[in-house]
Symmetry: C2
Subunit: 317 residues, 2 copies
C-alpha cells in the first residue's frame, strides 16, 4: 500500500488527471491507503481558497457555480467543484441534472467537478467533503467550490470547512427561504439573490438586510443581486466574495474565526475517529447491548455508559 | 437534583401537563438532572407507537399530521407530535407557521405538540428527538408523530427511531421529489402522495411504485394517495400505516429490522457520549491541536490520532 500511495500522491501532485481522479475515489471510498495518501498530500495543502455555495434546490445554484467557475478561470485559477448530494445506498446518490448543467466547462482541463457519494453515515459526508477538498488543494486548484443543498446539520458542518460561504436564494421560494433563515444565516458571509430579474427580488434582499442587522459578528454579510443565467451582477458578486476573502485572511477577527472553525473541525474528526475505533473494537458488544435494551434488561443510558467505559478500558496501545 | 427529578418524573407520569412540559424542556436542554429523569421514566416506555412523518416543505405535512392526530384521537389514543425544525443559535429555531396550522387540536388535552430547538450540534437533533419521544412514551401518549423536514443525515438518523415511517410527497415538486428519491426512499414504509386532486398525482404515485419495485427489503412500501385538506384518502392511509405497524410488531423480519435500528441507535448514542466525555476531558487540548495544525506543525490526521490515544489513556475510572 505504502509504495502505491506514494506513487499515486506524486502523480496527483503532478496533476495527472487520472491520478487526481483515482485519489478522489480512494479518499471518498475511504479505501485502504486513503489516510496515507492524505498524509502525503498534506504538506502541499493550504493554498486553495475554499468557497462554500449553499442553497435550496431550484435557486439556480449550479448555474451560479458555472458563472463563478468562468470568472475564476478568467483570472487564471484552476477551479474544482465538490458537489455534495443527498445520498442513499439505494440510488448511489447521483442526481445528475446539476452536473450536466455545469458541463460547459467539461472540456476545460483547468476545471474538475467531483460529486460526493457517501454511505449515509452521520458525519461521513462532511469528512468526505473535507478530504476531497484537501486533495484538490494539494493538486493546485486555487479555488475550490463546495456546493451543498439545503440545511441539514451535516451541511452546516461542511460550511465550516469553507473560508467563505455564499448562500444563494431566489425570490418567491416561500417556505424555503423561511427555512433558510433558520439554518444557514449563521454561516453566510455573502448572500446572492439570484433571479433578480423576477418579482420579489428587492423584497428578498431587504429581508436579508433586515436579518443581517441583527447579526453581532464582526463580519457583516454582503447581499448581492444577480441573474446567473445572463451573468448580470456576477462581477459585483465576485467583488463581494473577494472582500470577504481579504477579511478572513487579513484581520484578527477573521483569524479568530478560522481558528474556532478549525477547532470544531478537529473535534468533528475526533468524534468520527472515536466511534470508528470503538465500533471496531467493541464489535458485537454493540448489538448485544441493543438486545439487552430491547429485552428491557438495561436502560439505554446505562448501556451506553458501560460501552464507553469498556472502550476506554481496552486502551492498551 | 435527585429528589426534584423523582418528583418531576412522578408528576409527569401522572400526566400533569406542566410537569410533562417541564420534563420536555429539561430533556431538550440537557439540563442537569435530565439523564436521571430519563432513567426514571425508562421503565414506563415501550408502549407508544412512533410514527415518523417526513417530507419537503410545501407538501402539506402539517395538515396531514393534523388529520392523523384527528384519526388517532378518534380511536381513543393520546397523541403527541415532536416537530423537528432546522435550527440556529440566531433564530432560536422557531418556524411557527406549521405549529399554528396544527392548532385546531390546541385545546385538546389529549394532544401535546412540542417543537425541538437544538443548538446545531451534529447528532444533537436526533438525540433530542429520541429523548423527547421517550418522555411522551412514558407519559402515556399512545401515538407519537415525529415530523421532520427534508433529507439531512440527521433526519435519516431520526427516522431510525420510528417504528413506521411515512414519507409525504406532493405532485409537481420537481427537483424536490428527485432529491427525496435519493435520501429518503430507504427509510419509507408508507408513501402518501398528498394533494392528489392536483395534476401529476398519478404520475408521482407511478414513479414511486417504480422505485419500490427495485427495493429488496422484505417490507414493500405502500403508496397511498390523499388530500389532507379535505381528509380524502385519510382512512386508507391509516389502514396502510396499521398494516406496517402489524408487520413491524408481528413478523421476524420486522423484529430483525427493529433490532438493527436499535443497534444503530446505541451506536449513535455511544458516538455522542464518547465525544462529549472526550471534549470535557481533553478541554483545551483540542484548541491546542487546532493551533498546531494551523501552524502546520502537524497534519490533522496525526493530531486526531494523538487526541484519540490521549483520551483513552486517561481512562482511570
Amino acid at each position: 500500500v505504502g509504495l502505491i500511495t506514494t506513487d499515486l500522491a506524486e502523480r496527483a501532485l503532478a496533476n495527472e488527471p487520472r491520478a487526481v481522479a483515482r485519489a478522489m475515489r480512494l479518499v471518498d471510498d475511504r479505501a485502504p491507503g486513503s489516510r496515507e495518501l492524505l498524509r502525503a498530500l498534506w504538506p502541499h495543502t493550504g493554498r486553495a481558497w475554499i468557497l462554500g455555495v449553499t442553497g435550496s434546490p431550484g435557486v439556480g445554484k449550479s448555474t451560479l457555480c458555472d458563472q463563478l467557475i468562468a470568472a475564476y478561470r478568467a483570472r487564471g485559477s484552476r477551479v474544482a467543484v465538490v458537489a455534495v448530494d443527498p445520498t442513499s445506498p439505494y440510488s448511489g446518490g447521483a442526481i445528475l441534472g446539476d452536473r450536466i448543467r455545469m458541463s460547459r466547462h467539461s472540456t476545460d482541463d483547468g476545471v474538475f467537478i467531483r460529486s460526493l457519494a457517501t454511505r449515509g453515515h452521520l458525519g461521513g459526508l462532511s469528512r468526505s467533503a473535507r478530504d476531497v477538498v484537501r486533495v484538490f488543494d494539494a493538486c493546485g486548484y486555487g479555488v475550490v467550490l463546495v456546493e451543498t443543498v439545503g440545511v441539514g446539520q451535516d451541511e452546516l458542518e461542511i460550511t465550516r470547512t469553507a473560508h467563505t460561504n455564499l448562500v444563494v436564494v431566489a425570490p418567491g421560494m416561500g417556505d424555503d427561504v423561511q427555512a433558510l433563515k433558520a439554518g444557514i444565516l449563521e454561516c453566510a458571509d455573502v448572500f446572492a439573490v439570484n433571479k433578480s430579474d423576477r418579482e420579489g427580488a428587492d423584497a428578498a434582499a431587504r429581508d436579508l438586510e433586515l436579518m443581517i442587522a441583527l447579526a453581532t459578528e464582526s463580519w457583516r454579510p454582503i447581499v448581492a443581486q444577480c441573474v446567473a443565467t445572463s451573468a448580470e451582477g456576477i462581477p459585483e458578486l465576485v467583488v463581494a466574495l473577494e472582500r470577504h476573502r481579504a477579511w478572513a485572511a487579513g484581520t484578527d477577527a477573521g483569524h479568530a474565526r478560522r481558528m474556532s472553525r478549525l477547532a470544531e473541525e478537529v473535534r468533528d474528526a475526533l468524534r468520527e475517529a472515536l466511534i470508528e475505533v470503538a465500533t471496531e473494537e467493541l464489535g458485537e458488544r454493540i448489538e448485544q447491548a441493543a438486545l439487552e435494551v430491547d429485552a428491557r434488561l438495561v436502560d439505554p443510558y446505562t448501556a451506553v455508559d458501560r460501552l464507553t467505559r469498556e472502550f476506554r478500558a481496552r486502551s492498551i496501545r
